[in-house]
């Protein structure tokens, strides 16, 4: 051994110093490079979308049919206390739905027009970004912004993130507020929700899965003069009915400037 005790200790010290500084730096660099590969995919192959004909939806009967059919199809409770109520699809005044479209001289007849509103199933949904448990996510196969009630912890981040107010929180057990038939049965077999979870429109994923149209679309079509009030289809298919409507009409969607990419369109 021609290595002296002094030089050995010197080398050992330098190595320790080098590792102490180098490893953490290397670690940070590697994790930063890796992060870009592991982001949550937000875009999907197909995208269900809806086109709403505002003029046809001026009929109270059509709007009622849409809302009622949705409430029945999903066991949505009717809670009299407005702050606690749950809504998947409902009506809102034009001036509140499209605040950037109204000005001081917009006539009241336009500003107060009732407009059907629901979850926009955004291309870039902010609710999905903030959900800490991935209880809400954008389904890659069809672009529906889904909810998994088993995972929702009721933190309501998604409600704060959604710029459209499309989500409702179950402040109390909804079961007693769901209208039952004479035998006490719920309207449908769709699972009701429980206290402490957030819910919203799911574009009737359970109906679309078996090849049916969403309940609201079907209900509107069944009303006289309501044919085509609501149109549902695949936005990525250029020959679909929604793509054709978007091509042929002047349509707007809600708060486009925010970059969420809403997939519910309105023919004005």
């Amino acid at each position: 051994m021609d290595e002296s005790r002094r030089s050995f200790l010197e080398k050992a010290g330098k190595t320790a110093l080098g590792l102490g500084w180098g490893l953490p730096l290397l670690n940070t660099a590697c994790s930063e490079a890796g992060e870009h590969e592991h982001h949550i995919p937000l875009r999907s192959d197909n995208q269900w979308a809806m086109v709403i004909d505002v003029e046809k939806c001026q009929s109270e009967e059509i709007r009622r049919a849409c809302i009622d059919s949705c409430n029945v199809a999903h066991n949505v409770p009717n809670i009299p206390d407005e702050g606690d109520d749950i809504a998947w699809i409902w009506e809102e005044e034009y001036k509140h739905v499209f605040p950037e479209q109204v000005h001081d001289h917009t006539p009241a007849s336009v500003g107060d027009m009732p407009i059907m509103v629901l979850c926009n199933h955004c291309t870039n949904p902010p609710c999905v970004r903030v959900c800490p448990t991935q209880a809400t996510w954008k389904r890659e196969t069809d672009g529906i912004v889904m909810m998994d009630m088993h995972r929702c912890i009721g933190c309501r981040y998604c409600m704060a993130a959604c710029p459209y107010g499309s989500r409702s929180f179950n402040w109390r057990d909804p079961r007693p507020f769901i209208e039952t038939d004479a035998d006490g049965n719920l309207p449908t077999d769709y699972p009701s929700r429980t206290k402490g979870v957030v819910e919203k429109c799911n574009f009737c994923a359970e109906r679309v899965r078996v090849g049916e149209l969403p309940a609201c679309v079907e209900a509107a079509n069944a009303v006289e003069g309501g044919e085509g009030a609501l149109t549902f289809g695949d936005l990525t298919d250029p020959n679909s009915e929604v793509s054709q409507l978007l091509h042929d009409n002047h349509t707007i969607s809600r708060r486009v400037g925010l970059g969420t990419g809403p997939n519910v369109y309105y023919i004005i």
């Binding site: 998994d148 077999d189 699972p191 929700r193 994923a205």
Partner: protein, 126 residues
């Protein structure tokens, strides 16, 4: 050393209390009867073996929930190759149509409280 009696006495009381669950069942006597389940009459074969289902039904249900809700799949292929629609109320409850005489009997025996029925709709047979 004068506390010897107290210490030993205390230890005996402690041991008796700690082993309470062990000797209590012996003293109280008799085994608890196994739960009697009411099996469906129409169908004779569940989606998998009875033994497998007894041990793993909860895992199957979790698997179905994830595949159906999150991945959009609808069909389950059993070990025997048969296809089933993944649905608690549609498939399971189609045969096991009474929650009280099937689910609850066993769950009470094993002291588990699944929360399925807080949301999922009970079959009409109940």
């Amino acid at each position: 050393m004068s506390d010897k009696g107290k210490i030993i006495g205390g230890l005996v009381v402690f041991l008796v209390l700690v082993t309470f669950p062990l000797w209590n069942s012996v003293v109280a006597g008799g085994e608890v009867a196994m739960p009697e389940l009411e099996y469906p009459t129409g169908e004779i074969q569940c989606i998998e073996d009875t033994e497998f289902m007894r041990a793993n039904h909860m895992d199957i249900l979790n698997q179905w929930r994830n595949e159906l809700v999150r991945e959009g799949l609808t069909e389950y292929t059993s070990t025997s190759g048969q296809q089933y629609t993944m649905s608690l109320t549609g498939t399971c409850m189609d045969c096991h149509d009474n929650r009280d005489t099937f689910c609850t009997t066993c769950h009470d025996y094993s002291n588990v409280n699944p929360k399925c029925w807080d949301c999922h709709v009970e079959p009409r047979g109940n």
